[in-house]
Symmetry: C2
Subunit: 98 residues, 2 copies
């Protein structure tokens, strides 16, 4: 192999890549905002978030404000690091010279 692919499979999948990209740009985002932002069903979003959480890339904060229970997601330092590295690797690939 020319260069061992540093593409993180947890981040590379289209849906999760979008989630990470969205979370990387804000402090926190509501579950529903992410779900609609990515355009998937509740179940799918929940599953993607679980994978990201298991990887330590996303932090989940359940808040009960004004009687309303909402889930807020944020990217962790590890998540940001992994995302940045992933983007960097994509950039490297895109500008690759054989």
């Amino acid at each position: 192999m020319i260069a061992p692919p540093m593409l993180d499979p947890v981040i590379h999948a289209a849906g999760r890549l979008q989630i990470c990209a969205l979370l990387a740009s804000v402090d926190e985002a509501e579950f529903a905002v992410l779900r609609d932002g990515v355009g998937v069903s509740d179940s799918v979003m929940s599953k993607h978030l679980k994978q990201l959480e298991d990887a330590g890339y996303v932090k989940v904060r359940k808040a009960t404000t004004m009687g309303r229970q909402r889930t807020w997601l944020s990217i962790t330092p590890a998540g940001r690091k992994a995302f940045d590295a992933h983007v960097k690797e994509l950039t490297r690939l895109a500008n690759l010279t054989l």
Copy 2:
């Protein structure tokens, strides 16, 4: 959805993304070079190339030079366009602001 994902599934898959990246940087590449560059088996490389060819992104040229038969791959104009668009979209996602 905030922005409809313009990620081309044919190009996004890690293996094919690497193939496209490699082909985007050269005029032509030999099958074996690509296979080793990406680090997959003959069968997998063959199947990825078939998908890229079916999509019109890669051109296959079978050449018999000096008694040796080799397959040369090159990216087509459509392939380059799709790859560039894909990279552009990845860049957009990476710099996304919610």
